[in-house]
C-alpha cells in the first residue's frame, strides 16, 4: 500500500458546513491565491502554472499552462470558459467542487483570466446541477460586492466579469468545442478540427481557454504555495493531488483526493481509508479506470499507479478520474449494453459513423440481451466499432488472453471522441468475457454467476 499522508489541495472545505460561503472561504485562506497572483506579472503567473505541470483534470489530461500558451499573440478579446458540464459516467467530483467550494473555483478562474488576459469568463455549469448553480450564483454575487470580480479587482487594473451560464442536458457539451457552440446559443455539436484548440479560435472565433473545474480549483493553492511545492507531490509526469471517484461494488464508495501518480488502483479500491475492498467478500471481476469511455482493466492491473503516462500506453486512460468497480456477480453483457446505450442516446448526430453506429450497436446488444442474438452478432459488434474507430482498439495487456497492449488514444472516423468511446465497453467486454455473450446467444440466458 502506498497511501500517502499528503494534505489535500482542492477538497479541504468538503467537510465544512460553510465552506461555500464567502465568510467561510475567507476564514480558511480564501482569495489569498488571487492576491499572490496579482502581486506578480501575468506572464509570471503563467510561468508558475507551466512550471507546476498542472495536467487538465477534465479527461484529456493536457497541461493547463501549455494550453494557455496557445492563445495567439495580439488577438483580443480573449475569453476563459470553465467546463463544469461533468457528465462522464462514473464521475462525481466537479459537482462537489462547485457545491462545496464555489469561491475556490471562482478564484482559480480569476487567476487564469489575469494570466491569459481574458476580459470575460463564462462559467458553464451542467444544467441538471441546480444546487451547484445556486451556490455559484450566490458566490459570484458576494464576490462582486466584495470587489473580487468586476472593475479594478482589489484596487489593481485587472478587470473581468464572470458570468454564470448553464446547460440543458447534453453529455456532448463536455467536449470543449461543443461547449462553445452551446455557449453561443446553438446545438451542442463539436466543431470540425483544425483548429484543434479553442485557444486559437473559440468563443465567437476569438482565442478562448476552456479549463475544467478541478483544474482551475488547483490554481489558488499553486499561487499561494508555489509550483515547486506542487511538483513535490505526485510524480514528475503526474504532479500534485487529484480527485478520484470510486463507485460500484466497493464497500465504501467515495470521492478521494490522493497523491497523483503515486497512489495505485489497489489503494483506491482496497484500502480501508478509500474504497475498502469489494462488497460481500466477492472477487474483483473488472474495473473502469477513467469513466465510461475508458477501456476496462482486470484484477491483474490493480497495482498500476494512477499516472496517465502509464495508464495510456497500457491501453486505457485515467480520463475523468472515475473508477467503476465490477465484482464477480456482474453481468458483463448487461453492463456493456448499458454503457453503449449511453453513447447511442448522447450522440449529437453530426458524424454518420457515430450517429448510425452507436444506435445500431445498442440495438444489436439489446437483441443479444433479449435472447434473440445471432452467432454473427458478436463479430458484427466489433466490425461496427471498427467503422467508428479503425485500427486496433486500445486495450490492456493481459496474461490470460496473451494480448499486447494497444496504447490509448483511439483512432477515429468522427470529429470528437464520443463515437470511438462506444468501443471501450464493447471491445473490453468481448475480449475478456466473450463466453458471457455466447451464453446469451446460444441459450438466451446469462451465464450462471452473471447476475447484476
Amino acid at each position: 500500500m502506498t497511501v500517502s499522508d499528503a494534505p489535500p489541495i482542492v477538497s479541504t472545505r468538503f467537510g465544512l458546513d460553510d465552506g461555500h460561503t464567502l465568510e467561510g472561504y475567507l476564514a480558511t485562506g480564501g482569495y489569498e491565491g488571487l492576491k499572490a497572483a496579482l502581486a506578480k506579472a501575468p506572464t509570471e503567473v503563467g510561468d508558475e502554472v507551466k512550471a507546476a505541470s498542472l495536467l487538465g483534470r477534465g479527461g484529456a489530461g493536457f497541461p493547463a499552462g501549455t494550453k494557455w500558451g496557445f492563445c495567439p499573440p495580439g488577438v483580443w478579446p480573449r475569453y476563459l470558459v470553465v467546463n463544469g458540464d461533468e457528465s462522464e459516467p462514473g464521475t462525481y467530483k466537479d459537482r462537489l467542487l462547485m457545491e462545496k467550494d464555489p469561491h475556490q473555483l471562482i478564484e482559480g478562474a480569476l487567476i487564469a483570466c489575469y494570466a491569459i488576459g481574458a476580459a470575460q469568463a463564462f462559467l458553464y455549469v451542467r444544467g441538471e446541477m441546480a444546487l451547484a448553480q445556486e451556490r455559484i450564483a450566490q458566490a459570484l454575487n458576494d464576490a462582486y460586492v466584495a470587489g473580487y470580480i468586476g472593475q479594478n479587482i482589489l484596487g489593481t487594473d485587472f478587470s473581468v466579469d464572470v458570468v454564470l451560464h448553464w446547460g440543458a442536458g447534453a453529455y456532448i457539451v463536455g467536449e470543449e468545442t461543443a461547449l462553445i457552440e452551446s455557449l453561443e446559443g446553438n446545438r451542442g455539436m463539436p466543431r470540425l478540427k483544425p483548429p484543434f484548440f479553442p485557444a486559437a479560435k473559440g468563443l465567437y472565433l476569438q482565442p478562448t481557454v476552456v479549463n475544467n473545474v478541478e483544474t482551475l480549483a488547483n490554481l489558488p493553492w499553486i499561487m499561494t504555495n508555489g509550483a515547486a511545492a506542487f511538483t513535490r507531490l505526485g510524480t514528475e509526469k503526474a504532479p500534485g493531488m487529484r480527485l478520484f471517484t470510486v463507485s460500484g461494488h466497493v464497500k465504501n464508495p467515495g470521492v478521494f483526493e490522493v497523491e497523483y501518480g503515486v497512489t495505485t488502483f489497489r489503494d483506491l479500491i482496497y484500502d480501508p481509508v478509500y474504497g475498502g475492498g469489494i462488497r460481500d467478500g466477492n472477487e474483483l471481476k473488472a474495473f473502469i479506470p477513467g469513466g465510461g469511455s475508458a477501456p476496462w482493466f482486470l484484477a491483474e492491473h490493480v497495482d498500476m499507479p494512477l499516472d496517465p503516462s502509464i495508464v495510456g500506453p497500457s491501453g486505457s486512460m485515467l480520463g475523468s478520474g472515475a473508477i467503476v468497480v465490477m465484482d464477480s456477480t456482474t453481468d458483463m453483457v448487461k453492463a456493456c449494453w448499458r454503457l453503449v446505450r449511453f453513447y447511442a442516446r448522447e450522440s449529437c448526430g453530426k458524424c454518420t459513423p457515430c450517429r448510425e453506429g452507436t444506435s445500431w450497436l445498442e440495438k444489436i446488444l439489446a437483441r443479444v440481451l433479449a435472447g434473440e442474438g445471432r452467432a454473427a452478432d458478436l463479430d458484427l459488434l466489433l466490425d461496427v466499432v471498427d467503422n467508428i474507430s479503425p485500427a486496433p482498439f486500445p486495450k490492456a495487456k493481459t496474461e490470460a488472453g496473451d494480448w499486447e497492449a494497444v496504447p490509448f488514444p483511439y483512432k477515429r472516423t468522427t470529429i470528437c471522441d464520443l463515437g470511438p468511446s462506444v468501443g471501450s465497453p464493447i471491445v473490453s467486454a468481448l475480449l475478456h468475457f466473450r463466453g458471457e455473450f455466447e451464453a446469451y446467444v446460444d441459450r438466451g440466458v446469462p451465464v450462471e454467476v452473471a447476475r447484476v
Binding site: W76, A130, G150, V163, W166, A168, G169, L339, F342, R345
Partner: protein
C-alpha cells in the same frame, strides 16, 4: 399560450446584457420560459427569438437538442432515475422498475393526475451515492424502494415543497451583476489588449 411576463421580459433583457452577443442568452432564456410555464411553449420561443434577434426556427433548433427542455407539459414532479453504470451495479434498474410499479407508468410518461413524470436518465454525477434520482433536479441519494415510496408519498402531500420547487425552476438564486462595478462585455471587434497586460509589460520594460 404565454410570452414572457413583463417582469420576466426585464429579467430576460438583463440576462442578454451579460453576453457579448445576444444569442448566447438563448439557453438561459429557454430555462426562464420553462420556469415561467413549466415547459417551453411556442409563443415563448417566438418571444425569445424577438429578444435576441434570431428566427423562431433557430430557437426551436436549439431547444429541441437539449434533454431538459420539454415542449409538452410534464408532471408537477419530474423523477429522473439514473440507470447508468454506477447505479446499475447497485440497483438503479430495480429502483426504476419499483417506481414504475408504484406510479403505474413507464419512463417518459406522466401519471393521470399530472403529479409525476418518470424518466430513465444518464449519469447525474452522484455515483458514490448510488442508486440515486433527482426530483425536479434536486438529488436523493442511496434510494431504497421503501425510501422511494416514502418520497412519493411526501411529494404527493406537498411535504417536500421547501426543498423541491416546481418543475422548471433551477437555481433559486440568480446571478446579479452590479452595473456600477461590472467590467463590461468583451465584444469581438471592439476590445483591445487588456490594460493589466499593458501595464505589466511597461513595468517589466521599466525595470529592465
Amino acid at each position: 399560450m404565454p410570452r414572457f411576463t413583463a417582469e420576466n421580459t426585464i429579467l430576460a433583457r438583463d440576462i442578454i446584457a451579460r453576453y457579448p452577443r445576444p444569442k448566447s442568452a438563448l439557453i438561459p432564456l429557454l430555462h426562464l420560459a420553462q420556469e415561467q410555464d413549466g415547459y417551453v411553449v411556442d409563443d415563448a420561443m417566438e418571444h425569445i427569438a424577438e429578444l435576441i434577434g434570431v428566427t423562431a426556427a433557430e430557437v426551436l433548433g436549439t431547444c429541441s437538442f437539449y434533454e431538459m427542455f420539454k415542449r409538452e407539459p410534464v408532471g408537477e414532479y419530474l423523477l429522473n432515475v439514473c440507470t447508468n453504470i454506477a447505479c446499475l451495479l447497485v440497483g438503479g434498474e430495480e429502483l426504476l422498475e419499483h417506481l414504475e410499479g408504484t406510479l403505474g407508468i413507464k419512463p417518459g410518461s406522466t401519471t393521470a393526475d399530472g403529479k409525476f413524470t418518470i424518466e430513465d436518465v444518464e449519469c447525474i454525477a452522484a455515483c458514490t451515492e448510488a442508486p440515486c434520482l433527482q426530483v425536479n433536479y434536486r438529488y436523493f441519494y442511496k434510494v431504497t424502494p421503501e425510501a422511494a415510496d416514502a418520497l412519493i408519498d411526501d411529494l404527493r402531500h406537498g411535504r417536500r415543497a421547501h426543498e423541491v420547487p416546481k418543475h422548471g425552476v433551477l437555481a433559486r438564486t440568480r446571478q446579479q451583476i452590479p452595473q456600477a462595478t461590472r467590467a463590461g462585455n468583451a465584444v469581438p471587434g471592439l476590445a483591445s489588449e487588456p490594460v493589466w497586460l499593458r501595464t505589466a509589460a511597461v513595468a517589466s520594460e521599466g525595470g529592465a
